[in-house]
Symmetry: C3
C-alpha cells in the first residue's frame, strides 16, 4: 500500500542571502508520515531560493555566499534583462540554478539515508520575506 | 496499488539555444495518468539539453541565454577537448550541467504541486534538431 | 505492491579528480531489485563528490575536469573560508554543486529508461579515499 505525505515549511531569512539547516525538520516530516521505505522530495516553492545538500560548516556557508556572487554578481543590477521589469533579483534566479531547486533523498527504516556529513539546507538568495518549501514523501 | 506512466515529448528548437515552457504538457500527462498522489520526473533524454523550473519571464530567459554563455562560451570551439572529436557542442554539455538535466515534482490531488511562479522549461543548448524529453510518473 | 531496494557502491578514485561510468552497476541493481516500473535515485553520500548523467567521451571528461576548475579553482586554497578549518577541499564542495549530488532516473520494463547517449557517472573532486554512493529504487 503506497502512502504519501505533504507538508509546507516556511522561512523568512533576514538579509538578502542566508542558509538554514532543515535536516531535522525533514526528518520530523518522515516520522510524521509513518513511511519506512521511500523517497522524499524537498523543493523550494520560490524561484529565487534553493534546497541543497552539503556540509554544516560555517566557513563553507560563507563560501556558498561569496562564490555564487562571483558567478552571477548582484551589482550592477542593470546587467540583467530580468531587472528591466523593475526587479533587482535576476542574480538570485541564476544563483539558484547553480545551487539547485530540489533534492530527492532515500528513506530507509524510517530515516533519511544519508552519508555522515550530509545535511539539507534552505538557501535564500532574495530574502527579507516569507517563502515556502515543499516536503513530499511517497513510499510505504 | 502503485501506478506508473510514461510519455515522450518531442522538441525541435530553431537556433542553437532556446527555452520552451512545457508546464501544461506535463500537467496533461498527469491528468492522463490518473495519478492523484505521487512524483513526476521530467528529464531531457539528450545530454545537451536541460529541464529546469523557474519563472516564465522573457527578460529572465535572455539572461539564461547570456549567463551560461559567460560561464562556458561557445567560441572558440577549440578551447574544449570534446570538440576535437569533430563536434562543436562541448559548451552545450557544460551549460546543461549548470541548468540541470531533470526535475522531480510533487503531484497532489492530481495536479503539479507548485509555488505561484514555478514553471517547467525545456532548455535547448544545441538545437536545430529533434530531441526527446521523458515524463515518468509514479504514484496512485 | 510497492517494492524498495537499497545498495551502496564504493569507489576509490586515485588522484584528486576523476570520473567513473557506473551505468552498468546501476542497471545491475535494477535487475537485482526485480522492479520493472519505478524510479531509481543515485546519490553521492559524500559532499565533495557528484553523480551526473552525460556522455561517455574522454575529451568531454577532460572538459569536466578543467571547466569546474575555472569556476572554482583549487588554488590558492586560502581563498576559501572552509579551508581555514584545516581542509584544502573547499573547491570540491563548490564543484559538486555545479555537477550535482544526485540523479533520479526512470525504470521502464526493468531497465534504465535512457536516451541513446545517457550514461551515469560518479564524479570525484577530492579523491584518494574510499567513498560511497547510494542506489535506492522504489516501484513494483
Amino acid at each position: 500500500m503506497m502512502k504519501s505525505y505533504r507538508k509546507e515549511l516556511w522561512f523568512n531569512v533576514p538579509g538578502r542571502r542566508g542558509f538554514v539547516n532543515i535536516t531535522s525538520q525533514v526528518q520530523a516530516c518522515i516520522q510524521e508520515s509513518g513511511i519506512k521505505e521511500g523517497l522524499v522530495l524537498v523543493n523550494a516553492m520560490h524561484i529565487t531560493a534553493s534546497i541543497f545538500i552539503n556540509d554544516d560548516e560555517h566557513g563553507l556557508h560563507q563560501d556558498y555566499e561569496e562564490w555564487p556572487e562571483k558567478l552571477a554578481p548582484h551589482e550592477p543590477v542593470s546587467q540583467y534583462r530580468h531587472n528591466r521589469t523593475g526587479e533587482d533579483n535576476a542574480d538570485a534566479h541564476l544563483k539558484r540554478q547553480v545551487m539547485g531547486r530540489e533534492i530527492t533523498a532515500a528513506i530507509t527504516d524510517g530515516r533519511l539515508d544519508f552519508g555522515p556529513w550530509e545535511q539539507i539546507f534552505y538557501g535564500e538568495f532574495d530574502g527579507n520575506r516569507r517563502k515556502r518549501v515543499l516536503v513530499k514523501i511517497i513510499g510505504e
